[in-house]
Amino acid sequence: MTYPLIDARGRSCPEPVILTQKALAQYPEGIEVLVDNTTSRDNIIRFGKNKGYQVKVEPEGSDFRMILVR
């Protein structure tokens, strides 16, 4: 873990995206977000790219670690 980590597992959409948005406002250099479903994963990928972030996805078991960096 290199960036501040938000555990958004188990939260229903759009909560993980809202948490991502709020966390990026606080830590604009980059964050990591844990999600447990593909809908949240895809929404965060689209959100991050729209905001000009590079989004990396690392599957962890049945979860996904999303790394958003400028």
């Binding site: 188990g10 229903s12 959409c13 966390a23």
Partner: protein, 368 residues
Amino acid sequence: MLERLSNKKGIIAAGVAVGLSAVILTMFGNPANMGFCVACFLRDTVGGLGFHRAEVVQYIRPEIMGIVLGAFFMAKGKKEYYARGGSAPFTRFLLGMVVIIGALMFLGCPLRMILRLAGGDLNALVGLFGFIAGIFIGILFLKNGFSLKRTHRMAEIEGYLFPALNVGLLILLVASPAFIFFSAKPPGAAHAPVILSLIAGLVVGMLAQRTRLCMVGVIRDVILFRDWYLLTGYVAIFITVLIGNILLNKFNLGFSGQPIAHTDGLWNFLGMALAGWGSVLLGGCPLRQLIMAGEGNIDSVITVMGMATGAALAHNFGLASSANGPTLNGQIAVIIGFVVLLIVGYFNREKSTEVQLKGGVKVDLPIN
């Protein structure tokens, strides 16, 4: 092709397919502007099972079962199926009731709202404005930390029960034993052949599962994140059905004389505002709840149960509108619904969320 459904071309193709399915179903017997309507079809289905005795709206609608099973098979095939639940179950049940009472005030779920609009029914435009207003209010709560808390993993079998129940409903429909109620008059008696309805439902269920099609998600994502992905899908549905209606000579622009609709603007607006706000708190419109219920999401199963209960009550208590307009009971119920949403919205706000920093330090990130 299914791999590509989450991109723009994919969602447009899905929108066209959903629109075509709706047009075909009305061509082959479904009520006008009602190729699909999750609220109406749940209402008909619980009527078919005898949970309400409004004789004109009783029929087990195979579109519902098709949508659930289509989503189930697609989620299974894509390894996106897993059983989870436990996020404020009874709150979700009540919210499901509230959403359906709002939808039956307007006479249609958000998907039927688009189909009505594509048929030229301008009352649906009033409904759409109400729906957007309701979503705005819901978003205010989301931005202030509204959350129904986390879901948890459940035993695999838990997720299979609801799809299995839908297979059971299909068997009841085909076998039609004496204890099942089928309307002799429309709109309940107006339906496409079972096999066609089922196939159309399966197609929509599979595509909606892949693309996350959701009427409340569309507007929410545009307002919150300026994300236009889902909107392209709904524009595709609208245009496809609009063209279909024009070709079939079924397009009729105006407010009065619209099929299965009323012209009371205030209550069309308020009904859909209630449905929109409630759907935001639930994280998805009625169609999306059916899809997630098929994906193993037990919270959505509970929501669908709430919607079904709300639909039955709406007819037992005379809450649902008719072509003659809303009822006093329905107006009272919608107002109670707003009070319920206010209470649920207010008492489920989180002040902060935990962020883990480098070195394992944990800090609170304020979220309102």
